[in-house]
Every structure is written in structure tokens, then in C-alpha cells.
Symmetry: C2
Subunit: 119 residues, 2 copies
Amino acid sequence: MAIKLFDSELRVMDVLWREGDTTAKRIAEDLKEQVGWSKTTTYTVIKKCLDKGAIERRDPNFVCRPLITREQAREFETTELINKLYDGAADQLVASILGRRNLSPEEIERLKRLVESLE
Amino acid sequence: MAIKLFDSELRVMDVLWREGDTTAKRIAEDLKEQVGWSKTTTYTVIKKCLDKGAIERRDPNFVCRPLITREQAREFETTELINKLYDGAADQLVASILGRRNLSPEEIERLKRLVESLE
DNA sequence: GCACCCATTCTATTGCAGTAGAATATAATG
DNA sequence: CATTATATTCTACTGCAATAGAATGGGTGC
């Protein structure tokens, strides 16, 4: 399940992740609204997603269903970043973020609890 | 200090981050070795870095010095990722990594201490 | 001061993501 | 059915990152 999704494809996926199974028509309407895409652009990108197995099509009505979860996409992109800039060490990325001090007190609190819950 | 560095540019920067100030000639040699780049490719990319202020040139000898730190580049790219896939919430990214369970016990231990040291 | 070699710049090519218009198929309507 | 409108596909264009060859410049030994 390691598929690179391009930015345009992520836009389509994002609609599906937020709204669940959705007709192509509806996706096109949403993205027209959200990012001004022509509807043919949306259909083209949907096709790319289908071709690479990121979504599947159900008929009638060209209903699109995501086959990749948001978490999978996150993991893929994050791993890519870690390899590109953090020498492949995930904890370096985490350390870097924690060291930035632009986290809110609430975020810190949540993270503390999260880390403690490990193990 | 918010400059987007492309992958090719990051290769040049990486040499500078690892080795410190370095002549263009030497960078070209390194990257020829490491990634098989033609030396003109390296010079072209160095020029891009110069133009966007990521490095500066000292003469004689075309010595390149990085003006952007590795940490700045990391922060930029990481923020980009967070905005693209994590709804702009840094802690979601951290949570996602922590939840992956491909961290070693040592890493977990280090992170625990790190998080606890936050205020 | 000239010829040669290497350093550097200039200019061009390529590949691909992003975008959408033209063409076609399918569904709705009278 | 025939006609129109809408949904869907096909094909093409564009911009730009990546890469490098050709052209130029500058130093060095003779």
C-alpha cells in the first residue's frame, strides 16, 4: 500500500476522506467550489487515482470509494520527509517539532499523555 | 527565511551541511560520486541556490557557504507537510508517528524524556 | 604572449504534474 | 424516438524542475 499521491490527487482523496463515498459529479462540484477546478480536471485526476488503485469506482453513478486511508497517506509522505531531511530517523523529526516551541499548552499536554501511554 | 528548496537543491545543501564551506568544484566532485551528476548540473543547481539566497559565494575559488541551516530547511518542509496532510496541527503529526509503533524502545524512551521536559 | 586545460556560464532538452478544451457517451425530456 | 443537456473520456497544452551539452572565460606552464 505504498503509493505516492500527488498534490492534485490528494485533493480528491481529501474530499473522500471527509465525506466518505462520493459520486464523481459531487467531487467535481466540491472541488470547483473549493479550488476552482474545471470539472474535467477533477475527472482526469479521479482517473489517475483509479489507475493507481487509490480509489475504486462503483456503478451506477460513478461512486468513488477511497482504498487508501488518510493515515496511510500521512505515513507515506511522512516517511518520505524523514528520509529526505531527517536521515531516516523518525525520532529526529519528532524531536525537531517538539524543540520548536510553537506548540500550544494544550498540544503539549496531549502529547505528554500520548507518550506516557506508550508501552 | 522561508525558502522552498527543491530536491536537487537539497542535494547541494546537504553537501554544505555535512562538510561546511566547500568549493563548487568539490561539490561537483562529491555529487558526481554520490548521485552521478554531471558537473554542469551541479553548477546549474548551485546557481539556483545562489539566486534564491540559500547559499552565498566567496571568491576566490568559488567557495559556497550555506545561508540556510538544515534545521530551517527541516522546519520549512515539515510545516509544509503538516499543512498538507495534518490540518496544520503539528501535534497530529507527532501523534501519528508515535502511534506507528516502529520506534525502538530507545527512541521511545528518549521521546518520553523530551516531552516531559517541555513546559 | 600563446596554447591548452579546466572552471564556469549559457542555453537547450526532457519528463512529468497539473489543468482543461474538444469529443463522445449517456441520460432526461417532450 | 429525436433532441437536448449533462456526464464522462480523450487528447493536448503549459509550466517548471531536473539535467546536461555547447560555449566561453581564466589561469598556468612553456
